[in-house]
Symmetry: C2
Subunit: 164 residues, 2 copies
DNA sequence: AAGTTTAAATAAACAATTTAATTCCGTACG
DNA sequence: CGTACGGAATTAAATTGTTTATTTAAACTT
């Protein structure tokens, strides 16, 4: 009369003990999973000299160099000021470089440096390895299902994230 | 020779365009979903006067009052220093209170104040609502699947999180 | 052509998190 | 006893992340 674990109906005990769980538990669950992921990723990333959050910038620029801070922020799902500061640090660390646009004076373009380029491969591997570790024991289909559900969640949340 | 989008096999176009996705995309996907969730939750929580991350402490203490910082950190999947700081702020905000243990001088016990207790219900509703918003359009079964997969991920990551 | 509005980048302030290092208390051991 | 070890909490330093406000340049309106 205390734990409040599986005393809803104990319907059939079919799978695990997910009986009483519902959407109300979503926020804590995803928060915690992301925290773990971030910590593990961060530790691995440390060997490359960068922090969790910076990896996306490198990988995005590897796909398309010369993006603006605003574009990077948008694509990485982060607010502009966050990107500005992260770019600043990464520039100081020598991974990338800021250059004015030339035609539009408001724009800044971000380019990978030689150092940044050389790190791309390892970063990509680290991120992928972290994902594989997390997905251990899951089938490809389950992983795709998870990705699809996460995408749905984000799609649902997007309207609530629009800037006033 | 450039986009690397859906040119794996283009098997059958069965569902969506999840063709080329795999575990390698897991880390970014969960990171971004969690970021969105955190922002939305944080904005709603703001009306109660607290920030994302503090809600768990309130809810946990509502379930079991008088936990130590270490226990709270453990149960909320956070490191001890994080909890110390969060508790400090929440104490200053008047939501909780620190009391020495009495029998063991090393321990500190954390108790909800009257204000904290009064906020429990609203916090719980806010967190649940945020989850419901995120899960809009998903069936109960899909939500349970998602929770199960998230739990698996965290289980997989746990060993890598053990303190050296 | 001049003034207003929008858009992009940045600056400042507040929080969460982590790792590494400190302090304090209790217990075990010599 | 007194000293060494271990655990719990805290402090310090670094970074991402958000919100709010400021600057600067382009675009649009009279």
């Amino acid at each position: 009369m205390s734990k409040k674990k599986g005393d809803k109906k104990a319907k059939s005990g079919k799978k695990k003990d997910l009986e009483g769980l519902s959407a109300a538990d979503l926020a804590p669950a995803i928060t915690q999973a992301a925290r773990s992921m971030r910590t593990v990723l961060s530790r691995s990333l440390g060997e490359s000299g960068l922090y969790a959050g910076q990896d996306g910038v490198i990988l995005m620029l590897a796909e398309e160099d010369g993006l603006t801070p605003g574009q990077l922020a948008m694509r990485l799902g982060v607010k502009a000021p966050t990107m500005t500061r992260t770019i600043g640090r990464m520039e100081a660390q020598g991974f990338l470089e800021r250059r004015p646009d030339g035609t539009d004076g408001r724009l800044t373009k971000v380019h990978l440096t030689e150092t940044g380029l050389k790190s791309v491969e390892q970063i990509g591997r680290t991120v992928a390895d972290c994902g594989s570790l997390a997905a251990k024991g899951l089938s490809d289909k389950e992983v795709r299902t998870l990705l699809k559900l996460l995408k749905t969640i984000e799609h649902n949340l997007q309207p609530a994230l629009a800037d006033d």
